[in-house]
Amino acid sequence: MGNDILGDDAVGFHAARSLRSEPFEGVDVVETGEAGLALLDHLEGYDRALILDAIATGKCRPGTVLSWGRKDFKDIVSPSPHFSGLPELIQLAERVGMHFPKDMRVLAMEVEDPTVFRESLTPGAAQALPALVSEARRVLAEWGHAQPAAMLTGGPRTRR
């Protein structure tokens, strides 16, 4: 997830492209600049979802990779004026009986300023990118997706 003309906000895209270049068995790589309800379209039908994103908490060093699981999104803490967040999407999907990822992981890199228009990452984010990719690979391996060495043609989708 991200915006590819807002500098470090695109760090998730960069990580996703790296993963796409070494296709994992049973994994679809999707890039989207959307938020809220639109994410339902991307998440519906999958058993698991790994979301790669940028985040600006201001509470840790830029380049830090933060991680959350589905349980962290269990509670809706407040209404949002402009979109539905993951907690709402998860509850919504459950309420309407949608086939939605039971297992969900968010990996987000802390970035300094994702509000300036530029097409490249800052040196700091570029330097930290391998750590995000590495963590993403680890999650995929944990979920049983084969390492890419023998997988040169892409694999079957997990979508039902």
Binding site: N3, G33, A38, L40, P81, G85, V96, T115, R118
Partner: protein, 487 residues
């Protein structure tokens, strides 16, 4: 006078760029309240030197919420830049995509974003003021219908535009792709369902909002009322048009003040700058900036659904026209000045968008294989305009003779409302917060004052999941924190 400072500071993904600051005096009443928006920076510089043909794709990336509006305004600016009239079939395809986007986006706001305040209730527990609370109130089947309808409408945009989020539809003089006759039966089905859905939504609004005396009282209350100028695009009959037309401005009394082609916008619109925010405040140049004040002597104007309905003489389609007439009857005549009426006006616009979609998919020309007029002239200056869901959106480009960008000026829809939003937040806070009582429900009602405009503040900042997205900070005059409340 001694002041305390209350900040409503959501830090979630989109609204992270907006923050409401409320200053209380020593009696605990509101001295002043305003909305701060740290805007995204550097787009004009970013666009310089790029081929103008890239602008519909680049500008659609400015915002993940309304990419289609930017794409279409940019495409129309390219028509003007290359001095080519859009091919009539290309125009119909553009209008089909655009009205589909308007219907989908408005539905999203009615049910998911602004609607929960009314459908669930402004004083309902915060954990219920969301789409889940809406489903609890209107029923699971309606929830399923909203999700399904939205997806099917996006299917039309996806087919014609390539990608929903970054459409590649628009080219100067027409569109990149036609509509196959094989596709039209499905589109007709979606269009018919879309119209039923829009009419159903009006009924939901009537049943839940208009039949609730307290809600109507809130909508028409002084705290949510401003008498300003109103702006919107109108067709040759002065009816609401989302895709094209002249810009029409009416006075706070509802009389036509100006009507002009978008090329002349600089003769009518100027922008005021305040030191406390990045956001600019457009105003009517020939009336003048008189501060954040209302009335005919102040150049402050409004855009978006309520303003569009005020600025026009009617809706362009029959069912929407009926709803339009009822709207002014219910709200006490024209023009309507109640900010929260934007929700009602939005539903009426859903009906016009849906009726327009039905007309377009039933137009035999829509599947023509000829849909573009090739431009042949040398580019120089181009200005394009559409009515985005959030108001009048203007793209102004200037290029060299090769079509490389030399200047970009965008007046985005939310900015058109910025002065009125600032006034709404201030007035709502003053009307609702007394004696230092800043309860959660009251704060939500202050937020409602700007949420009604469906504002879009850009999209880059992300929230820390599980954290409270609302922080209220009480400060003394020197900025020291007296108390911090998180929810």
């Amino acid at each position: 006078m001694k002041q305390r400072h209350v900040a409503i500071d959501p830090i979630t993904r989109l609204e992270g760029h907006g923050k409401i600051d409320i200053f209380l005096n020593d009696k605990g009443d509101v001295d002043h309240a305003y909305l701060q928006i740290p805007e995204l920076r550097g787009f004009e510089v970013f666009s310089l030197g790029r081929p103008s043909e890239d602008m519909p794709q680049i500008t659609s990336r400015i915002c993940g919420v309304c990419p289609t509006a930017h794409h279409m305004a940019a495409t129309k600016a390219l028509d003007d830049l290359y001095q080519v009239e859009c091919h009539p079939v290309g125009r119909k395809i553009r209008e089909l995509v655009y009205n589909t986007f308007m219907l989908e986006d408005h539905a999203l706001h009615v049910y998911i974003l602004g609607g929960p305040d009314f459908i669930v209730g402004p004083d309902a527990p915060k954990e219920l003021r969301n789409v889940i609370g809406v489903i609890g109130k209107v029923g699971l089947d309606v929830g399923k219908k909203v999700i399904s309808m939205r997806r099917r409408l996006r299917g039309i945009i996806n087919y014609a535009g390539g990608k929903v989020i970054h459409p590649v539809l628009g080219l100067p003089g027409g569109v990149a792709k036609g509509i196959s006759p094989d596709q039209i039966a499905e589109f007709k089905q979606i269009a018919a369902e879309g119209l039923e859905f829009a009419k159903f939504t009006l009924q939901v609004f009537k049943d839940i909002v208009l039949k609730n005396e307290a809600y109507v009282k809130l909508i028409t209350s002084d705290a949510f009322t401003h008498k300003t100028y109103y702006m919107g695009l109108v067709d040759k009959d002065n009816k609401v048009n989302f895709y094209d037309g002249d810009v029409r401005v009416v006075t706070p009394e509802g009389k036509e003040y100006a009507k002009f082609p978008i090329r002349d916008y600089l003769q009518h619109i100027n922008e005021h700058v305040e030191p406390w925010t990045y956001i600019k405040f457009p105003f009517l140049k020939n009336v003048g900036w008189k501060g954040f004040t209302e009335g005919g002597r102040s150049g402050v104007y409004a855009v978006a659904p309520m303003a569009r309905l005020n600025a026009a003489d009617g809706m362009a389609t029959p069912e929407a026209q009926k709803a339009y007439e009822e709207y002014f009857k219910v709200l006490g005549g024209k023009p309507v000045h109640h900010t929260l009426a934007n929700h009602y006006a939005r539903v009426i616009e859903m009906i016009q968008a849906a009726e327009t979609i039905v007309a377009l998919v039933n137009d035999p020309q829509i599947t023509s294989k000829d849909f573009r007029t090739l431009p042949t002239k040398t580019p120089k200056i181009g200005v394009g305009v559409v009515e985005a869901p959030r108001g009048t959106l203007i793209h102004h480009y200037e290029t060299d003779e090769r079509g490389l960008m030399r200047k970009t000026n965008l007046i985005v829809a939310t900015i058109g409302n910025s002065a009125r939003i600032a006034m709404s937040v201030d007035k709502a806070a003053k009307g609702l917060i007394k004696g230092g009582n800043v309860s959660d429900g009251l704060l939500n009602q202050v937020e409602m004052a700007f949420r009604a405009y469906d504002p879009c503040f850009g999209c880059a900042t992300h929230t820390l999941p599980g954290e409270m997205p609302l922080i209220v900070t009480l400060r003394d005059l020197k900025g020291g924190v007296i108390k911090e409340i998180r929810r």
